[in-house]
Symmetry: C2
Subunit: 309 residues, 2 copies
């Protein structure tokens, strides 16, 4: 895959899983002239230099941003506002600022006030990731056939700035959608934020249970539990910030979840097998839809093979 250069200079602020995968996908597609990068941690910057992550790793956000046509904030949601404030004075006139945060309304509220009027702001959220984090966890294929949602902050955002960002994400392999910030936050509360909190909770319950040892939980995890542990191994700082910044939608969905769970618990207690069967049968249809939409593999157990250690 290779096409015309979409931006001359792109700056990635924050060099974790998402930014490093962007860099490798950009290189694969030949999409950008020069990619600069910055991470707050010196260790991360040194790792990035060692593995060739970014064409140039800078020692300050301002240095990385200077002259960039696109600046992508790839830091935890809670850190976006601070970074925006820091880079605002050096933003080039006409540049586009974007981000990759899992929450959009609070990022817009935190970032927009700092940006000068002659800069375009096009928030984005690539729906892709793994349970691994850090500069060495990225890979060029992460966004292939995944969705990236663009959430232009205002109705009058420059269409040319939006379509150029769209071209970059499409060049990195993603399908691109546009959505309103509040709807984005609700959809993600359902498809991502609530499931993550639930997985963290279930793993925490297993960890606390004194009558079942940790070694038993680990040995016998293949019966279902291990899928929860994958989700619950994701980056804790990122997820803390997601929940603190998508509070209302997440609590709304968790409230519905608890209601449903109580109804099913009651059916178990009362021995209502018909209710359970119907419920379990209905949820299969969604799985089929996901496989038909190419968003997961049909191979049993995600195609995991059982290898002798």
């Amino acid at each position: 895959m290779s096409g015309p250069v979409v931006y001359d200079r792109v700056a990635l602020i924050g060099l974790g899983l998402i930014a490093s995968s962007m860099f490798w996908a950009i290189k694969r597609g030949g999409l950008v002239g020069e990619v600069t990068g910055y991470a707050r941690s010196q260790e991360t910057r040194e790792t990035a230099r060692r593995i060739g992550l970014c064409d140039r790793v800078c020692n300050s956000a301002a240095e990385a941003v200077e002259g960039a046509d696109l600046i992508v904030l790839c830091v935890p949601v809670g850190a976006m506002g601070g970074v925006a404030e820091e880079i605002a004075p050096v933003l080039k006139s006409g540049a586009t600022v974007s981000d990759v945060g899992s929450v959009k309304r609070s990022v817009i509220n935190a970032v927009a006030p700092h940006l000068p009027d002659d800069v375009h702001f096009v928030p984005a959220h690539p729906l892709a990731g793994t349970e691994h984090s850090g500069p060495e966890s990225g890979f060029a294929e992460l966004y292939d056939n995944r969705w990236c949602i663009l959430v232009p902050a205002e109705a009058d955002t420059d269409p040319e700035a939006v379509s150029r960002l769209r071209a970059l994400w499409e060049g990195m392999g993603a399908n691109v959608d546009e959505m309103d910030a509040d709807h984005h936050d609700l959809v993600l509360a359902v498809t991502s934020h609530a499931p993550h909190l639930i997985a963290y909770t279930m793993v925490g319950v297993a960890d606390h249970l004194r009558r079942v040892t940790e070694s038993e939980v680990i040995k016998y995890s293949a019966a279902g539990f291990r899928d929860f542990t994958r989700i619950a191994a994701s980056d804790p700082t990122m997820w803390r910030d997601v929940f603190l910044n998508n509070k209302e939608a997440t609590l709304d969905i968790l409230g519905r979840f608890t209601e449903e769970l109580f109804v099913l618990q009651r059916a178990i207690r009362m021995g209502d097998g018909d209710h359970l069967y119907e419920y379990f049968n209905r949820t299969r249809a969604i799985r089929r839809g996901i496989i038909e939409a190419g968003q997961d593999t049909e191979a049993p157990n995600f195609g995991r093979s059982a290898k002798k250690p």
Copy 2:
């Protein structure tokens, strides 16, 4: 892999994912002289004959069981008692009866009263499966490096009968443990039953939500939700029976789960980021343990690749 014959004749009653995987694993290891099979549904029996599942597919449970040295009940937990009653009159003296149910106390209570005194009863539970079901879903590798828990019904169960069943499961690739029925049911409530109910619930919530369309849930599922849908695609009859028959332990764990979830919800509502961070950080250790124990793959996203559909 091939060793000495462990049993001359084995009968598999019920021909779904578990039984069909047992058959292919038995053949791979050359572990049994002849394997007979029976399923209540004529369609399943015809499918089995067509794909060569079992050396001989019989038209009644009694016919399949006649002369067998080992009889394995591979039907949903709620159907075990009825099958035991049906086959009791034709069981060979000295034969062993086993099962593969996900719940052990209620299976023992349902099956044991029907069995004659000259038959050994060694309940078992292989901790392996996929979201697929039916006679065509089995494969020889399902049990490789997975655990099978033997739960001898009584303290004076014949050690020779237990060790022979252990040899069969080891021959099929499994690691074998022994455990008391009540402890088994509690451990499985944590590692399997509660996670499955929670996954079913989350998928049900998404299905009910009117403000988010089903197509959005499906398109954007890669952000976490899709892992829940895999678990929630498992066989509904099997899972209905599991919950009805492991009621107390499952409700106990779900009660703990709800408590923990409420504490985390409160932390979100109050903006207690430290509590969230600590909780999310702790759960990572369990994931590492599972990977070190060879019970899951370290590859990101279970090694799923993102393929264009």
